[in-house]
Symmetry: C2
Subunit: 228 residues, 2 copies
């Protein structure tokens, strides 16, 4: 246990925010990273993140920093944002004690890396070496994402407005890293009353066209029955 000295003036730790931004790329769950331009961990890959100033909420700081460092506009381009956990071990930043409030965000195709930002997207299962404890943070986010998909309609964030049932199933399979039975998956998901048929079909390739579906609601909802 640590003893605070009341006789000294109060000095707070540095406060930072970090974002785990997920996207499906060719059905592979992937994470947005930046290459650090400065020490510490210069040239290493890291989550987009930075300092949270006084008077700024963590959400505002995140929005500002992710736009600046990775060229991604969280509010405009991403569909789902959730606070994850606050990492606070004293040694996690070699420059001194920094407490990081972490967030998870999910999106479909979005632009990134405008201008001079060194941003890239890596598959979750094939990450480069990462700065700080960012590998742990991504693992934590991935677990939380799986949990969210089992009891909410959060997949919505990964799909186009209209999508086929195969695309939906593939999204689940990519995120969970395991296959689902096609008939059972469809029966269960349709039974949840979250999506509705459209009159459109997706035609591509030499095979039967696939019916397109839409979510009935685009806001986050909890499911009556959970998924696994």
């Amino acid at each position: 246990m640590n003893h605070m000295k009341y006789t000294e003036p109060y000095v707070p730790p540095t406060l930072t925010v970090d974002a785990v931004v997920f996207q499906l790329i060719d059905n592979v769950l992937s994470v947005l990273l930046i290459q650090r331009p400065n020490e510490p961990f210069k040239d290493n890959w890291a989550l987009p993140g930075g300092y949270n100033a006084q008077g700024e909420t963590t959400h505002d700081a995140l929005q500002r920093i992710v736009l600046e460092k990775a060229g991604v506009d969280l509010d405009r381009d991403l569909d789902y944002l959730e606070q994850l956990y606050t990492f606070d071990t004293v040694a996690r930043d070699p420059r001194g004690h920094a407490v990081s409030v972490t967030y998870m965000a999910c999106g479909k195709e979005f632009n990134y890396g405008d201008g001079n930002a060194h941003a890239a997207i890596f598959p979750v299962d094939n990450l480069p070496d990462l700065a700080y404890d960012h590998k742990d943070i991504i693992a934590y986010a991935h677990d939380r994402l799986k949990a969210k998909l089992t009891y909410t309609n959060a997949v919505h964030a990964f799909l186009n407005t209209q999508f086929t049932l195969t695309e939906l199933q593939t999204a689940y399979e990519s995120i969970f890293g395991r296959p689902f039975d096609k008939r059972n998956f469809r029966k269960k998901f349709l039974g949840l009353d979250l999506i509705k048929e459209t009159e459109s079909f997706k035609r591509e390739g030499a095979h039967r066209p696939a019916r397109l579906y839409e979510f009935k609601s685009s806001t986050l909802e909890s499911l009556s029955r959970s998924f696994d």
Copy 2:
């Protein structure tokens, strides 16, 4: 959105920690509060909490502060500690921007309010007016606690080493605020393989003695099947 001025020196927000400490008192879910000795919110009831200094983890700060302000030793007297959420709205503290990392802890009978601490325990359903956004924090903690009881063996924290099935069921009922069917509850809980019979009985009052049970493991575990 907030624009950070890079030309000015970086000033972090104040960092605080707050604890929601739960206990069952006569089968009523209750929470530990202190009466604030100073402004702001002087004499109001509030969660035990305080400043987190540089070089101190939030866990260490919480341990120190809860002992000091409420006379409760988290590490020694409480069974379960979990980080909840980080509250960061700029206006939550009238003195200036303070970001609070909140925790939930659970225990059985513990001592509190040693010395000059103005601590007391209030039923969750009958709280006094609370300082800051502490009412929201308690509501958040209560929701999380219910979720935890459905998929982990966290009830453990509220019970004596040996307990009757009725005590176990009553704990669930108190926390969820609704009754459970006695036969189904027993069937389900025994089927989870978390607890074992002892050879002891609890005898009290003019009725059949109740068999005492123990948890097989005292560490937190996830359940194979969930509870509701």
